[in-house]
Amino acid sequence: MEARSIWERMMQIDRRILYAILAVNIIAALMARVAIEPDIPPPVKRFYDTIEALQPGDMVMVSSTWSAGTLAENQPQFEAVLKHLMRKRVRFTIISFAPPARDISHRLARRLTEDFGYVEGKDWAHFGYAPDIIIAVKGMSEDIVQAIRQDVRRVPIAELEVMKGVKSLKDYKLVVDVTPSDTLTYWISYRPPNLKILYCPTSVMAAEAYTFLDSGQILGMITGAKGAYEYERLLGIVGLGTRFINAIQFSHVLIIVFILLGNFAMFMQRRTSAS
């Protein structure tokens, strides 16, 4: 009788206790100061190598559509990618397909570029918010001045120094898609044929993207904040990914333990009630 009540009580545990356990686990792991070296998965390595192969002055488009909701996943990716691009002295332009994403990415890029001596308009530019991704990608594939007209500060695109010798997306080497939503489909569908795509999705969308990695429709992928951590290790920097990784991995351990615990408790409860 005694044993039975233990399993039963375990099953009926108040959900608020579970929530508290998770919160405490995350706070503790965030405060912990241990660092475990990652194993670099092939998609991250290919991502790194693709950017590493760029020449100074090459053009890269960063498509940044994330905002607050997925900040924890996309901001570490965005920062790591921008730092890598600037380290390679590559020119880049940013475009957003959601209004809040424009504000966040512009502010963040301004802050990051200062440290690398990048000047807005000369070394990089922000194209602002384009309400429709099909129009934007198809239009930019023909003529960027026509399709975008002004950058986010209302400077005409034609007057930007960074756009010298660049007419359309065909003159770009790469597009990096940092996104929490289905923007990849449109880049895949409407880009100029030879523009390569690198992908920074939230982890939710990562498993589905392996088919595109296999087919070569995307060349490399950074999976969420965890991928950003691996990327930061490749770059030898400390960023948000590094700060988050312990909390991520210990929450995984916690979940696995509790799945097993829940199943075990149910199993025991069934067995004792049967006997």
């Binding site: 356990i21 392996y210 999976t223 979940i255």
Partner: protein, 281 residues
Amino acid sequence: MLFDTTQLVVALLWIAGAFALAIALIPLLGTLPPRGRFALISFVTFIAGLFFAAEFFLPVGEDNKNILTDPFQKMQGSLQVITALSLGLGTYGLVRMHLRNAIQRRPQWGYSLVLLVAFVVMAFFSVWNTMAEKGLFGLKRTPLLENAFTLLFDYTLIQLDATMFSLIAFYIFSAAYRAFRIRSIEASILMFTAMLVMIGIVPLGKLISDSIGLPAVQTAEMRTNPFMLENILYNLRLPQIASWIQETLNAPVQRAIEFGVGIGALAMAIRLWLSLERGIN
């Protein structure tokens, strides 16, 4: 300047005329019998689809364009305008419902009032902000706008948004303990794979594999001779297993799903385009 003003007046006249036409057509449309209505809707649906389909299928010239490629941008723009209007429709429905709640003092009408106040204040600053960006009507960014927008957007809306999204983590955790059951073969395969992936993709997986002494790197010799003991041990490392699951086992599954979804979406597009779908039109 004078020229610009005349042009503005002409544009406004055109728009007024278009509105007049749209309103004048309503009583006329009202006389249509149900059969005619369906025919009209199907016709419009078909023509709208035909344009985009033809742009894709028609042969192109040297410059990789056909006669529809240039109007495509404007058509897609119009589509976007209509989509924006339909989003406005959702907002209209929401405001209508809560306005009614508040006016009729239905239960919990106080919350409806909160919603309406938040809506009006935010809409005011958001529209002002967007117009100031474009320099429309001579509107400018003032400190009031900057401060109010920062407070409402950065420190309220964005925080609420991020928090709402993060709630799911708690629900997943509680479901993990109380709902995710290894009750069948398929659930076992799923949960087992999930656990391997969850541990294999984080640095802990590498740590565990290293600490039980599995080889950390794959040499060229191991690559050419897959049946070497070292190579087998190397492939048993958690990160390698997780990678292999995702790249070799998961990729074809996702591709099969993609093909199914893609073919299904194409079939659905054809049904909708030709107004064959039941219960929708």
